[in-house]
């Protein structure tokens, strides 16, 4: 593997700072590059083909980025230890998925992640509603929205603040972004309910 020495990479603090304070793209790429050698570990330890080990690692990085941007990484262990733990779980999930073909588990699990701050009773209500919904249809309706609407919703879901979106998409203020974004969301809801 021709990855440069670890010292050439930014520190964990640099990565977390970039992910939290605006320079998201650099933070994401630095995080990916710093621990990309995990992919080799995945091929060696879990005997995954390289493509699948890459997928597991990419999912790991995406999950870590989301948690870091939401302030959920508490720094109780090093970034590497924490990331490797997630990576191992992803590899095991992947192996299990291959043997049991349970790919649908992930989607519900991701939404459950969003609901972590709700009490158990409220969470159960939302989970039951999600399970009754047509998620694929919603994704289809999302793709039918205008390009600006889609971008607004995607950036927001990706963890960008309204202020960051305003700077990125050249809106005057964060409030304008918020209003536009919520209008897009309402439009999506109408499209979804119409069917």
């Amino acid at each position: 593997m021709s990855y440069p020495a670890k010292s050439l990479y930014p520190t964990d603090q640099d990565i977390i700072r970039n992910l939290s304070n605006g320079n998201r793209r650099k933070g994401e790429e630095d995080l990916f590059n710093s621990y990309a050698y995990f992919i080799k570990e995945g091929t060696r330890k879990y005997r995954l083909p390289e493509d699948e080990a890459f997928d597991a690692y990419s999912d790991t990085v995406l999950s870590a980025i989301e948690k870091i941007t939401r302030g959920l990484f508490e720094g109780r262990s090093s970034l590497k230890t924490w990331l490797f733990q997630i990576f191992q779980n992803k590899c095991v999930d992947l192996l299990r998925k291959k043997t049991t073909n349970k790919s649908s588990v992930h989607q519900t699990a991701s939404i459950t992640d969003m609901l972590f701050q709700l009490s158990d009773s409220s969470k159960t209500v939302i989970q039951q509603l999600v399970e009754k919904s047509d998620f694929d249809l919603l994704k289809k309706r999302l793709s039918e929205l205008g390009a600006t609407c889609q971008e607004l919703l995607h950036l927001s879901a990706d963890g960008y603040s309204d202020r960051e979106i305003a700077a990125k998409m050249e809106y005057k203020t964060a409030d304008v972004v918020k209003t536009s974004r919520l209008r897009c969301l309402d439009r999506l809801r109408q499209l979804y309910k119409r069917t």
Partner: protein
């Protein structure tokens, strides 16, 4: 749209803390509101999933730029070849061991070993009588070979049939590296009709040590004669011929 703003504020963490309890309570008591929360969560999730392939593609490009492809087959190939590699290592170790311990020694090395072990210290009679022969042997054992040789030559000059002095003169000449002289003494020794005469054996030994042109072949021939005729040095000659 107001409910969506309320829900958005909750999930973005901008809702006042005291409002959080009411938000949860509304989920339990207001089904359309719970529907709206579920829709909001699914919309966010759908947007995230839309981004995943783009981000993965970006990561893939990063990975390609920084890494050589790691094929899943490579570890499998290594594992398959491992028994062969282990067998090759064992074979190499055996060959090295055989080469170190069992390799055929050169006649010169065999001669060196023999001279070192058998002739560097000669037997001395333990009696009190201090004759010329014992003096010569003692000088040799003390490393004074030149003096020892003079002592033995002096004895031979006094008595040309002193085969013991001739034998020791040959042995000392051999260790002094004067092979021609040693060969002359051992050739003379062979002329004596003795019950046990090492002359031929020592002559072969000297040729082995000198290892000049034709010496090895001649030494081999002499050693074969020692064995065939059951002469002194037969056992050693057999060993050497086995390693030749």
């Amino acid at each position: 749209m107001q409910d969506l703003e309320y829900i958005d504020n909750y999930f973005k963490g901008t809702l006042p803390r005291e409002e959080n309890g009411r938000f949860e309570q509304r989920i339990l008591s207001d089904p359309p509101f719970a529907e709206a929360v579920s829709f909001y969560c699914m919309a966010v999730q759908a947007s995230k999933e839309h981004l995943v392939p783009q981000k993965k593609e970006r990561f893939r490009i990063l990975y390609r730029n920084y890494s050589h492809p790691v094929t899943a087959q490579r570890p499998a190939l290594v594992r398959r070849l491992l028994p062969f590699a282990a067998a090759a290592a064992v074979l190499a170790a055996l060959l090295i061991g055989w080469y170190v311990w069992m390799k055929p020694s050169s006649p010169q090395q065999l001669a060196d070993n023999y001279i070192q072990q058998e002739l560097s210290v000669l037997g001395v009679n333990m009696g009190n009588r201090q004759d010329s022969l014992q003096t010569g042997i003692q000088l040799h054992n003390e490393g004074k070979d030149s003096s020892a040789l003079r002592q033995f030559e002096s004895m031979i000059a006094n008595n040309a049939s002193d085969f013991t002095a001739i034998k020791y003169a040959g042995v000392v000449s051999l260790q002094l590296g004067d092979y021609d002289k040693a060969l002359r003494f051992f050739r003379a020794l062979q002329q004596f009709r003795l019950y046990s005469n090492p002359g031929k054996f020592y002559y072969a030994l000297t040729l082995m040590k000198r290892s000049g042109p034709g010496d090895r072949e001649q030494a081999k021939e002499l050693l074969q004669q020692v064995v065939q005729n059951n002469l002194e040095g037969k056992q050693q000659a057999q060993q050497w011929l086995g390693k030749w």
